[in-house]
């Protein structure tokens, strides 16, 4: 079993496969992003935009290999499903953002 090691790194070095060691909070203590949240490229961009400078991460294991054709098919299904369910709200900025967050999460789950 891999022993968890915590490390504080600048946000620029944060990558999607990393796992947060603790919640990211505002200076007043309000929660911005929970520790159990899955990091994706767009989440990292959003965290940077939010003004986060440093984060504490734990080391993790590499993703297992999966059949690329299967992954591609499933990715397409995820995208089509979201497009269908969001069909009446896909012009609203907040809903576009939410759809992006869910898409990242569902696709990230497939790869992990």
């Amino acid at each position: 079993m891999t022993k968890a090691i915590e490390k504080t790194i600048p946000i620029e070095k944060l990558t999607p496969n990393m796992t947060l060691a603790r919640d990211i909070t505002k200076p007043n203590g309000d929660l911005v992003f929970g520790q159990k949240g899955k990091l994706t490229d767009s989440i990292i961009v959003r965290l940077r935009r939010f003004g986060v400078r440093k984060v504490t991460v734990v080391t993790g294991k590499a993703d297992e290999y999966q059949d690329p054709e299967y992954i591609e098919k499933k990715m397409k299904e995820i995208e089509e499903g979201l497009n269908y369910r969001f069909r009446k709200v896909d012009h609203i900025p907040l809903m576009i953002e939410l759809k992006g967050i869910l898409s990242d999460h569902l696709k990230g789950k497939l790869l992990s």
Partner: protein
């Protein structure tokens, strides 16, 4: 539709069964000094079918004590009063609706999956926001759509027409209900919750889970259920009667004091809790 016709339709709620007294006592125990835990346990034990369902539920993976709880008293010690009380209320209410949908008009399994999902997501959000009594958020999410079940039981032909219109016109179920019945599941569910004397904050969450900014008693609970319902629809957890994700009003996020990014931080926990909640759904269905 005329007001007296609508009022008569709402009065049909009285045709539905009363909430079993054990559920009522369980809910109000904390506020009624004349009801003791001993009295509650002895009244529940008169109904062995309920006892057996409660024990199945508290022994499910959802509560983390698989197969270790042998009696209601033990459940109270291990899980605490609030959790057992909520289990009693859930089982009692769901028992009332146990036959709904058996004619094939709708899929009760998907309905309950959506209900349990909304409960789970409400609990995760309230937990992350460190609200007290997260179990009550679960119950509010679980029961938010009971008005739909009341419609199916009281107005089965109207319900079939609602489903037809939802499909043909690509509208939401709440729009279909208003068009066909002149009432929707939030009004009907609220009337039922009032009749059953559910806690006011849960009555409000049922009434305002499409417009939480109108709630007065516990606006955060209504907003949590509103957001959770939308997220379950977006994540395709169960089925709420139509396939549409509604627009999330930024006012709801303001009530909770969160940014969209907060939602991303809840998704892993939602996945984990939904896995555990499968056992909860299995006991209910």
């Amino acid at each position: 539709m005329k007001q007296d016709v609508l009022a008569r339709k709402l009065d049909r709620i009285n045709d539905l069964p009363s909430l079993p007294s054990v559920a009522f006592e369980a809910m109000h125990l904390l506020h009624q000094p004349d009801i003791t835990i001993e009295r509650l346990i002895s009244s529940i034990q008169l109904d062995q079918a309920i006892v057996s369902k409660i024990l199945r539920l508290v022994n499910s993976a959802f509560y983390g004590f698989q197969g270790k709880i042998g009696s209601l008293s033990q459940a109270l010690v291990l899980l605490g009063f609030n959790t057992v009380s909520n289990a009693i209320v859930s089982i009692s209410i769901l028992d009332i609706f146990s036959g709904v949908g058996r004619d094939g008009s709708f899929d009760p399994r998907l309905f309950w999956l959506h209900a349990v999902g909304t409960g789970v997501v409400s609990q995760v959000i309230s937990h992350q926001l460190k609200y007290p009594h997260v179990e009550n958020f679960f119950i509010a999410g679980l029961l938010h759509d009971i008005g739909k079940l009341a419609i199916i039981m009281l107005f089965p032909e109207d319900f079939n027409q609602i489903l037809k219109e939802v499909k043909e016109k690509d509208i939401s179920i709440i729009e279909g209900e208003s068009g066909v019945l002149g009432l929707d599941h939030t009004e009907i569910g609220h009337r039922l919750a009032r009749r059953w004397k559910l806690p006011i904050e849960i009555q409000e969450a049922i009434r305002f889970h499409h417009c939480p900014w109108k709630a007065k008693e516990n606006r955060a609970m209504s907003a949590t259920v509103y957001l959770s319902d939308c997220l379950c629809r977006a994540l395709d957890i169960g089925h709420g009667g139509d396939s549409l994700v509604p627009e999330i009003d930024a006012k709801a996020l303001t009530i909770l004091g969160i940014e969209p990014l907060f939602i991303a931080g809840c998704l892993e926990e939602i996945d984990l809790e939904m896995e555990r909640a499968k056992s909860f759904s299995a006991v209910l269905s």
